[in-house]
């Protein structure tokens, strides 16, 4: 499993680890049985994500993609954060091994889940804005 230097950097020195006690939204995706769980906290001011933190149980790629994803959405408008794809996260990390692609999918979904939670708390139906968050979409594990 050859990880890029960027991945190793974000693994060894993950940015934005932790929790936000008074978060505007919290999203959790993954499944401990499969060895991955990602929880994302966002703080929203107006339509801007002013702060973001994460906690991840998972492989090196899961930790690195969580870290990179938080960097990519911090200070961004919600609508822009929702546009963040797992591909963009992977590119920012100079790529991932093929079997690790789904870890970046988790990162994308964790952001969406956090935004959904924020909308729900605001009394807004998230589905038209965020779209469906499939259960463990493109998960590579065979436990289904």
């Amino acid at each position: 499993m050859a990880y890029s230097e960027k991945v190793m950097d974000h693994f060894a020195n993950p940015r934005n680890v932790g929790e936000i006690p008074d978060a505007s939204g919290v999203g959790e995706v993954g499944n401990p049985k499969c060895g991955d769980i990602m929880r994302m906290y966002i703080k929203v001011d107006g339509d801007v994500i002013t702060d973001v933190k994460f906690k991840t149980f998972g492989c090196g790629a899961a930790i690195a993609t969580s870290s990179m994803a938080t960097e990519l959405i911090k200070g961004k408008k919600i609508e822009d954060a929702l546009k963040l794809t797992n591909k963009a996260v992977m590119e920012a990390l100079d790529g991932l091994p093929p079997v690790k692609v789904h870890c970046s999918v988790l990162a994308e979904q964790a952001i969406k889940a956090a935004v959904s939670d924020y909308y729900k708390k605001m009394g807004i139906d998230p589905s038209p804005l965020v779209g469906e968050i499939p259960e463990c979409e493109s998960c590579a594990c065979d436990l289904h």
Binding site: K33, G35, F54, K55, T56, F57, C59
Partner: protein, 387 residues
């Protein structure tokens, strides 16, 4: 400052200096084909047969019962598929193995199942051991072969091989053991233990990768896996890997010469490491603490995923593993840990540290200095931990 500790000797080992020196002449000087008549050929033939004698001696076998192969996987495939195909002619199409064998055995079984063979996969108990009674109960009229590994490659538990051998003998069933992890680490005597076939692989005891052997008790007939020339008395074709075979025999002799001494030293290191690591909250040792290979430590730390643990250790110069090397491309938790009853989420957090000859008490010190902090750190970022 920057330390480097190789603690993944169950995955593979470095070639020792004496082994390398023993091999080198066969690349450039005695390079002849051992089947050739002339001097450089004969110069390769003799060491080949000496290597066979050495290996036989280390196992309590006869030289003509040793067949050199390309490694543990080939030996396993040959043994299982060979005996299965041979005895199928007599209508024996049942195989008994265990749930936590190496994939070389499990995937061979699956291939045989597709051909119509029936396989019983024995349960492994939480101590990492199969039960001889359960094995005996599984034997049927049409059982062709029992294949139970000598020592497990992940959790290092040592199976009751002599007892299994006795039961198989009693019922007239052929007994194969994958001893890839055991050879060189424990005393093996194929005759006393009633072993009919035994697989071994050089790179697990400081010989090079790509060379192994299969012991086949005299009298056991089975088709070849690799047909062709008359090498290995017509049972395994291909120009012999003379250098590798000589290397294997030198390494095995070295390993077997001081099993007890080495075991004593490694067991002390192993037990100290386990004792200390068990002080970490919600940590578990996998497999029996006593009936295990001298150099094997396999533990789970709840709330932590194995790969990130390994990467963190690697950053500190420690090579260890989680599950076995050959499945590290896969995302599923170890089939071995599931077989001994661990839940998925815990099985994901396993760590295997395997010591050899070359490790020291200082290595244990350093691991103990580094590992608990890594666990604390990873847990601090794990959403599973707070709960």
């Amino acid at each position: 400052m920057a330390r480097f500790i190789y603690a993944d000797n169950a995955a593979t080992t470095p070639v020792s200096k004496t082994v390398l020196e023993a091999m080198e002449p066969f690349y450039t000087q005695y390079y002849g084909n051992p089947s050739s008549l002339y001097s450089v050929g004969r110069a390769a033939k003799k060491p080949l047969e000496q290597a066979r004698e050495t290996v036989a001696e280390c196992l309590g076998a006869l030289p003509n019962e040793i067949f050199f192969t390309s490694g543990g996987s080939e030996s396993d495939n040959w043994a299982l598929k060979g005996v299965a195909h041979e005895l199928a002619k007599k209508g024996k199409k049942h195989i008994i193995t265990s749930k936590f064998e190496h994939h070389a055995i499990l995937h061979s079984c699956e291939a045989l199942e597709k051909e119509g063979f029936e396989v019983t996969y024995l349960d492994v108990h939480s101590d990492g051991l199969v039960r001889v009674e359960e094995l005996e109960a599984a034997i049927r009229e049409d059982t062709a072969i029992v294949s139970i590994m000598y020592a497990n490659n992940e959790i290092g538990t040592i199976q009751p091989i002599a007892e299994i051998g006795a039961v198989c003998k009693k019922h007239g069933v052929i007994f194969h053991t994958d001893a890839v992890q055991a050879v060189g680490n424990v005393h093996i005597h194929v005759k006393e233990q009633n072993i009919d076939l035994l697989s071994l692989s050089g790179h697990k005891f400081h010989a090079p990768k790509g060379v192994g052997a299969l012991y086949i008790r005299n009298g056991i007939k089975m088709p070849n896996l690799i047909d062709g020339g008359a090498q290995e008395r017509g049972r395994r074709a291909s120009t012999e890997n003379v250098a590798g075979i000589v290397g294997l025999s030198v390494a095995l002799k070295e390993a077997c010469a001081n099993i007890d001494e080495r075991a004593e030293r490694l067991i002390k290191m192993r037990d100290r490491l386990i004792d200390e690591l068990l002080k970490i909250e919600r940590s578990h040792i996998n497999g029996d603490r006593v009936k295990r290979l001298p150099g094997n430590i396999n533990m789970c730390f709840e709330g932590i995923e194995g790969e990130s643990l390994l990467l963190s250790l690697d950053l500190k110069g420690i090579c260890a593993s989680s599950g076995s090397a050959c499945t590290s491309g896969s995302l599923d938790p170890s089939h071995v840990l599931l077989a001994i009853g661990l839940p998925h989420e815990i099985a994901h957090g396993s760590l295997r540290i395997t010591f050899s000859e070359q490790n020291t008490e200082e290595d244990v010190d350093y691991i103990l200095e580094v590992l608990p902090n890594i666990i604390t750190y990873l847990r601090s970022m794990s959403p599973l931990w707070e709960e």
